[in-house]
Amino acid sequence: MVGSSIGTRPDQDEIEISLFGPGYGESLLLHLGLDYWITIDSCLSSDTDEPAPIRYLKSIGVDPAQSIRLVLATHWHDDHIRGISDIFATAKNAKFLCSAALRYPEFSDLIELSKTLMTDESGASEFSRVMNVLKERGGRTRRASIGPEFVLAGQILDRRDTQLHYEIHALSPSNASLSLAFHEINNQVKEITTSVPGSRGTKKRIVAQPPNDVAVVLWLKIGDTAVLLGSDLEETANPYTGWTVIVDSSVRPSGKAEVFKVPHHGSSTSHQPRVWEEMLEPHPLVVLTPFLRGQVLKPSFSEVQEILSYTPNAYITASAKPKRTKWTDKAVERTIKETVINIHEIPRVMGQIRLRKKHPSVRNEEWMVDLIGSARRLELAHA
């Protein structure tokens, strides 16, 4: 596998999968040929606070306004959604898709309530801005429904039937996980609407809470090549949610994937051995992002070893080892040590893993891997 020229756009018959992640946050960008791009989730570039996929597209000479056709939010956790409203506002030709878990009226209530309760950025405020863009665009269309489009397991989200064929299948969320999500959102709305604070009450930020099992997992079929994009889906004890329900599904597309975006930052909670055995080729090409948040550091050393036991072809967008700030003032440094249990920088250096190959109908070749910024081989995750 040899890296290609970093600043060039892919050929019209070339497929690209780019994974971005600075250490907190994750975004995917797909080129499916013919200047047709899809973004999945969003994270921000460190220096400009611009969504990473937009910045990258501009850097290789692609006009995001014209070329992005689908914007998908797999779930509404902060680390997957920051900047997604900017992507959608920029992508003037795009449709907006999100998990069907957000279809419930209670979720739109939560979005509107967030405008009143908000004190800072959050997943709810990103969705609120997406809805504003949709409303604005809706004023110029006669369509009965102007979105968002809700994604459920079993749906085909997009396809092209010409020579450069592709299909995008949704493998989750399952019906059972939707019920759980409804319960979760409904509880959050109830908590807000039934507990008007007293005089000591205060505004706060709506912080997205679990579960991750409403996240949208995708199966991308490009000619005879398949790619599994695992989002943040975790394995659960409930056989009707998580990865088990996907592996056991009789309606999921057949075949095995040669590329795997490892779910939930490689954590053991997302690990299901049957996915490796039944849905992936031997020694697949795997990519993932780390998650550094206080004492929560993913993937751990043992989780890295677990992934490497399945494949040596594994890459991560940034180090999974937290960076500590060197404080110039010794008094500040001493006081920090005496006060907190743990502190580290929120990682800001963007890493990108870029995979490219010709469409299989044009030429059968291996994926080329480019490691940009802080991206590295997985065995160096804790270096």
């Binding site: 209530d109 409303k135 009965a144 706060k204």
Partner: protein, 202 residues
């Protein structure tokens, strides 16, 4: 030419508090009128250093630190004996906090033992941080405010009390913003229905 001396003025403000042991009133004769303190005679003679120091110290300069001539006008000041300078009283030291580092934070997760928060340097000079705090770092009165989404400030610096005692300190203050009202909730629910209708949200 003789210059009329200022009218008697009472020392006021912080000076009065500071000089209880030697309270005085300036008279035409520039005599100390404190019963408890005998006239001390000249205290300081003016020189550039004293003058500069006096100016730097005080905000209350109307009665304190004034330069007056003992016998004669200001014009022949340089030829006469050095003028009398009343001492500049140091302003009362209130408790003072000198911040070395200040963050704004938002609580991400909270338990009864502690909380995790994201921190932004308010001076924008250092990278954003994620930190985990024990609950003991928050004042007892504010602990019920430590919930996901709560906003707070964290300051590290030196605290100095009235006596000039200096202590290194870490201060966490939870921010209280106007809470939402029943009316706002009703409006949000109404707007939500309107949004769904407009978008054809089915």
């Amino acid at each position: 030419m003789m210059q009329k001396a200022p009218m008697p003025r009472k020392a006021s403000g912080p000076f009065r508090q500071a000089s209880q042991a030697a309270a005085f009133t300036i008279t035409d004769e520039f005599k100390w009128s404190s019963a408890s303190t005998p006239s001390p005679g000249p205290l300081f003679y003016l020189d550039p250093v004293v003058q500069t120091h006096g100016q730097a110290l005080g905000s209350n300069t109307s009665t304190i630190g004034d330069t007056v001539k003992r016998n004669g006008s200001a014009e022949d000041f340089s030829h006469a004996e050095p003028p009398l300078v009343f001492p500049k009283a140091l302003p009362i030291q209130e408790d003072h906090f000198q911040s070395l580092q200040s963050w704004e934070g938002v609580v991400e997760t909270a338990t009864s033992q502690g909380f995790t928060a994201r921190l932004w340097d308010r001076a924008k000079k250092s990278p954003d941080q994620i930190a985990e705090f024990p609950i003991e770092e928050v004042s007892t009165a504010d602990r019920d405010l430590v919930q996901p989404g709560a906003i707070f400030y964290w300051d590290i610096g030196y605290s100095e009390d009235k006596t000039g005692q200096r202590m290194r300190a870490s201060l966490i203050r939870l921010r209280r913003l106007p809470a939402w009202t029943r009316k706002e909730i009703e409006k949000a629910i109404h707007d939500s229905a309107e949004m769904r209708n407009k978008l054809g949200w089915e």
